[in-house]
């Protein structure tokens, strides 16, 4: 059984005992425990079930590579699925439940799948569930979805907050083991700004566990001294609980800091995402131990050798009383020795190698009385939910059992792989290190920055260095080299500390144990614990022709689980290489992508939630609208009032009232969101003539003109009224959504194409509150304010004037988007609310009432005015909309002119704008299509038109619409069929798009 030892546990604070719950059972642990070590201390070996066969799973590792120990963590608004027990620090009242089991962890119905495993090989889902087609949707998918999946989806909103921080440095060191600390120390001594990120809460990596001396003293002494030195340096930032998650182009790195995961009651954000720009990145990310592939290697109690050592040394936890060690290298002997020193029994070390003479560690183990069996292997592990023993065989054979050894734990080591993820994210290449049977960073093919220079360097075990002296020398050299490229220099006499060197016998690559394992054994030899991929699956994939490692990965799902194959990848591709008779480097690796270890969605979103999820742009009148019944409509990032609801009204009632009131009395519209762009300069007229389809240079000061803007492909992109302010100044109004876009469009042409034209533009959209005063009583209201002559004679239709209206400095544009007598008044935004209040007051007895965007739409539709975004969708040209009158024939050129002359643009079969009137007065569904005769090549009914705008007009008391129709203007009076999505077919007659006051007399009074 696994238990807490009486002594040991260097990371524990035994004076602070904590209680926590796992699957409802109360358990005890200490401050400093991970959830994994605390579970093991409580003899909770079984932590979950595998994905496909629901096999019992126990903790295998002690770090982020752990594939099995995933739990649903927390409750309510603190619930999080797939929390990894090895990276979850214990805290008081922690609450966890195991995942992927039903009805209980101990008894799981899905485990029946394991008896079907012969019938669930690689690619099973692809092969079986594709036919017959309808069964996929109704039977297979719901079944798979029910049985699959790891954690549960959270049901409540996340109760925590998150944030980002932007940081900059010369050298970012990722990893706070001895290599990272030494690299940071050396880099910092050059004066470089250094940030060091360590994923754990403690520094030093695994060296304190593996022991060894630095400068003749225990490594921990050097770690402590170096930390003190670094902490005292102004140019160094040290962060624990911060993982380097991803390396991106231009030295951009994401770091994932977990601030309160270990102490949820603390104030402040839970996670912080570090967005770092580093001139150079040193990855001192260490190495991960590989499992060995033998039958039953997934039974709880089988653990990585180094992890088992970690549990003993770091947390004072023994995984078993009797542990068999199985290895292909010397490193695992450290585990046997550590277990012995902790007073635990090691009945045997099964070493797959046959060495000519005992290595140093082997001799030490033997001296401790441990039985070492060279050339031996595990044929299979005994036990179901728990290891009960191992069957021993020869590594060279096919698995014939030589003896059985009773034990309750197995420590396995298949060698070490450098953590090359961060090196690889931006294209660093790998090479095969035959001696250590691992991929390591290829120093000649590093990730290159925009300047063609290397910007990531590895240090220590991440470089493929496994001896303490090599690690320290490599780290020092990395920092020295990196800082030189940054133009910095180490002070004289600074050198790498001297690390201890251990004489080790070479490891031997073992990808399958025993090497000739039968099919029966291979089917029980797990590669990917989380996704249940076995040696037999990878071989099958190879046999079926999945020769590319990327294809084999997807076919078998090897390495596609939440651990992203940290343990399984190399073993899997070695098996694949074996099956293909290829060298491992020829098969290559799959792609390493960020993040290194899953990070929270909250950290990615950062502060962007609730009120600041998205910027909401507010006009100067926003608060008034809000207090006066505004039903908001998002228009870009703005919020505009859709309608102002009064008590007892529906939104539709309000809209109808607003339209009628504006037609009959006086409507006020907040038009502040309309874009306003100043264009000034000697060449401004020429510039605007190019930008607009019509002529703007001939506009007289004091006058306004409606204009259309096309892009260089001829499509309509914006419209609006242009006012000429003075000889070389124009003010261009754009649509609400067009302000920034058109401003950028203007700057782009000025900066790239017409850079020698003397024109300046400025976006002054937000400088003004703009209020439209609309309706038959509009003039009366403004006359009451006084100060500006707004008579027809003084301020005619399509003219503007400047003056002091009722004490407000304003510009008044006599323009109309409603067909009524209308003035748009621009006032400095800081006075907008005051002017609005004044207008409402003077207009009170004239029926002054605000109207929203829906009333605006109806008013303009009654007049047949187009709306960018309704009648246009990026594929519509002015000619489609019957706007030929706005296309200047006098100009040699304007943006879009040549495009509009192309054959498809001039095609008479292009759909054209018409009005549509339902036969029965009902309202056409917006976006409905008109159907014609026959079917197209896909068997669909032919379309001959579509509705672009559709409203109920209270003025005309019937449905009105506009649409684009094939040969529309030539088919006046024809009735078209518009099938709706409600099953009904609507019939509408083609009519003139101007429904109201075709002569335009009302706006010109």
């Amino acid at each position: 059984m696994s238990t807490r030892l009486a002594t040991g546990g260097r990371l524990l604070n035994k004076s602070n005992a904590l209680s926590f719950r796992f699957n409802g059972t109360e358990m005890r642990g200490y401050e400093g425990d991970t959830l994994a070590s605390a579970l093991l201390a409580n003899d909770q070996m079984l932590v979950g079930r595998s994905f496909k066969y629901h096999r019992p799973r126990g903790v295998v590792a002690a770090g982020p590579e752990e594939p099995n120990g995933l739990v649903n963590l927390g409750r309510g608004d603190r619930f999080e699925p797939n929390a990894r027990v090895t990276t979850t620090e214990l805290f008081e009242d922690l609450y966890a439940e195991s995942q992927n089991h039903w009805p209980s962890l101990e008894f799981d119905v899905g485990a029946i799948n394991k008896y079907l495993s012969r019938f669930l090989p690689a690619g099973f889902y692809y092969k079986m569930f594709i036919h017959p087609r309808p069964l996929w949707k109704h039977v297979y998918e719901p079944f798979i979805r029910h049985s699959a999946g790891l954690g549960k989806a959270p049901k409540e909103r996340d109760g925590d907050t998150y944030e980002h921080v932007h940081a900059f440095c010369d050298v970012l060191v990722i990893g706070g083991g001895v290599a990272g600390l030494e690299a940071a120390r050396a880099a910092a001594l050059t004066g470089a700004r250094v940030i060091v990120m360590e994923q754990y809460a403690h520094w030093g990596g695994r060296t304190p566990v593996d022991r060894g001396e630095i400068d003749g003293a225990p490594a921990q002494d050097w770690i402590d001294a170096t930390l003190t030195e670094l902490a005292g340096m102004e140019n160094v930032t040290l962060r624990t609980r911060t993982m380097g998650a991803g390396v991106y182009d231009h030295g951009y790195v994401l770091g994932y800091e977990r601030l309160t995961d270990h102490a949820p009651d603390l104030d402040g954000p839970r996670h912080r995402l570090w967005r770092v720009r580093a001139r150079h990145i040193i990855t001192a990310t260490g190495a991960l131990e590989r499992p060995l592939s033998f039958a039953g290697n997934d039974i709880p109690g089988v653990m990585l050798a180094a992890a088992m050592r970690d549990y003993v040394v770091n947390w004072g936890v023994s995984v078993g009383d009797r542990t068999v060690v199985v290895t292909n290298n010397d490193d695992a002997y450290l585990t046997a020795i550590a277990l012995k020193h902790a007073g635990l029994d090691v009945p045997a070390i099964l070493d797959a190698r046959v060495l000519p003479q005992d290595s140093e560690l082997m001799a030490q183990a033997k001296a401790l009385g441990i039985r070492v069996l060279m050339g031996h292997a595990i044929s299979s592990v005994k036990g179901v939910k728990r290891v009960t023993g191992v069957a021993v065989c020869s590594q060279a054979g096919a698995g014939a059992v030589l003896e059985e050894i009773a034990c309750d734990a197995v420590a396995m080591s298949g060698g070490w792989s450098p953590v090359v993820h961060l090196w690889s994210h931006c294209g660093g290449k790998l090479r095969w290190d035959t001696g250590n049977a691992c991929f390591s960073p290829h120093p000649d093919h590093p990730p290159l920055g925009a300047d063609g220079a290397q910007f990531v360097t590895t240090a220590g075990a991440a470089s493929g260095m496994f001896q303490l002296d090599d690690v320290l020398n490599d780290a020092f050299a990395a920092a020295d080299g990196v800082t030189r490229t940054l133009g910095l220099k180490l002070p004289r006499a600074v050198a790498a500390p001297k690390g201890e060197r251990r004489e080790e016998a070479p490891m031997a690559p073992v990808w399958l144990m025993p090497q000739g394992a039968s099919v029966k054994l291979r089917e029980k030899a797990w590669l990917d614990y989380q996704n249940d991929v076995k040696v037999s699956d990878v071989r099958l994939a190879a046999q079926e022709g999945f020769v590319s490692v990327e294809h084999a990965k997807r076919y078998t799902t090897l390495g596609m689980a939440t651990d992203q194959g940290k343990l399984s990848n190399i073993n899997g591709l070695a098996v694949l290489a074996g099956a293909l008779n290829e060298d491992i480097p020829a098969v290559g690796t799959t792609t390493f992508r960020p993040p290194y270890h899953p990070i929270s969605m909250g950290a990615i979103a950062g502060e962007a939630r609730d009120a600041v999820f998205q910027p909401v742009r507010r006009t100067p009148l926003h608060d008034w609208h809000d207090a006066n019944g505004a039903q908001w409509e998002p228009v870009g990032q703005w919020r505009r009032p859709y309608a102002y609801k009064r008590e007892g009204e529906s939104t539709r009632d309000a809209v109808m009232r607003e339209v009628t009131n504006t037609r009959q009395k006086l409507g006020l519209l907040d038009a502040s969101t309309l874009g306003k762009i100043i264009v000034k300069g000697p060449d401004a007229g020429k510039f605007l003539d190019m930008l607009y389809t019509n002529m703007m240079s001939t506009l007289k000061p004091g006058k306004c003109r409606y204009g259309l803007m096309c892009n260089d492909n001829g499509f309509l992109i914006d419209d609006g009224v242009v006012a000429r302010i003075d000889d070389d100044t124009w003010l261009c109004h754009t649509t609400t959504g067009g302000a920034e876009r058109i401003h950028a469009h203007m700057e782009e042409w000025l900066q790239t194409e017409w850079w020698d034209w003397q024109v300046y533009v400025a976006n002054v959209t937000e400088q003004y509150a703009q209020i439209a005063v609309v309706g038959p009583n509009a003039r009366k209201a403004l006359e009451r304010l006084g100060g500006v002559d707004v008579s027809k004679e003084a301020l005619g239709f399509m003219e503007w004037a400047e003056g002091t209206l009722g004490g407000y400095a304003v510009r008044i544009y006599r323009i109309s988007f409603s067909g009524e007598l209308s003035y748009e008044i621009a006032v400095d935004a800081s006075h907008g609310q005051a002017l609005w209040d004044t207008l409402l007051a003077v207009g009170a007895d004239l029926g002054a009432a605000p109207y929203g965007t829906e009333a605006l739409h109806i008013l303009r539709a009654e007049k047949g005015f187009i709306m960018i975004g309704d009648e246009t969708d990026g594929t519509v040209i002015p000619q489609d909309l019957g706007l030929h009158w706005a296309l200047s024939k006098k100009k040699d050129d304007y943006l879009g002119k040549r495009a509009q002359e192309r054959s498809h643009m001039a095609d008479p079969d292009r759909w054209k704008l018409v009005g549509l009137e339902t036969v029965d007065g009902s309202t056409l569904p917006d976006g409905a299509y008109a159907v014609g005769e026959g079917k197209n090549e896909n068997g669909q009914r032919n379309m001959i038109g579509r509705v672009t705008s559709s409203y109920h007009s209270p003025t005309l008391d019937k449905g009105i619409a506009m649409g684009l129709v094939l040969h529309g203007p030539d088919r006046m009076g024809e009735v078209l069929d518009f099938p709706g999505t409600d099953g009904k077919t609507y019939q509408a007659k083609i009519v003139d798009p101007v429904f109201y006051d075709k002569e335009g007399t009302k706006q010109d009074v």
């Binding site: 932007h166 502060e607 962007a608 742009r617 300069g681 300046y760």
Partner: protein, 189 residues
């Protein structure tokens, strides 16, 4: 004419790591032209009351000054009530030159942040190196804050002045509040 009303009516928040205050209205003039031309420089200096700042910098005195915006654009800051006069003066002096001067005072909101942690609060929201040796008083940075455009400078250590568009004032105010929430100290600088 009514009294000018700034976007947030001088809203303040001193609950968090720094104190946040909307100050305003502030006078602002966008001035575009040939920054190297003598008449332009003279007009700008007369309007701003300070010299032309170098690229990426500003020269500020109490409630007036000039900020460098781009190779052909300056931002002149002054008292709100002085804008009309300064605009007239600029337009007069630059009448014979190709230049553009427009009032943008009402298009903006201005915030002041105070406290020992202003640098790290800003670092949470803007992709700017705020190390005390890198971003120093006298610098002026056009950047983004969260999801909107902003510009800022430090009149002195521990003080940040920040300009954003008027329509996003509430967002910026809320954003600064979130970034300075209790317990979110970074201890970066």
């Amino acid at each position: 004419m009514s009294d000018p009303v700034s976007a947030l009516h001088h809203a303040t928040n001193s609950e968090g790591l720094v104190s946040i205050c909307e100050i305003g209205p502030v006078g602002m003039i966008t001035l575009r032209g040939d920054l190297s031309a003598k008449p332009f420089q003279k007009a700008a200096i007369a309007a701003g009351g300070v010299n032309i700042p170098n690229q990426g910098r500003c020269l500020m005195e109490l409630d007036r000054g000039i900020a460098w915006m781009s190779p052909d654009e300056l931002l002149i800051l002054c008292r709100y009530d002085d804008v009309a006069g300064k605009l007239g003066d600029l337009n007069g002096k630059l009448a014979k030159h190709h230049a553009l001067a427009v009032n943008v005072s009402d298009a903006r909101a201005v915030f002041e942040l105070r406290g020992a942690r202003v640098r790290e609060v800003m670092a949470k929201l803007a992709p700017v190196d705020l190390h005390p040796e890198v971003f120093t008083p006298g610098m002026f940075r056009r950047t983004r804050l969260g999801q909107v455009a902003a510009a800022f400078w430090m009149p002195e250590e521990d003080v940040v002045r920040l300009i954003c568009f008027r329509s996003s004032a509430q967002y910026v105010f809320d954003l600064l509040g979130v970034a300075s929430q209790k317990g979110s100290e970074v201890d970066l600088f």
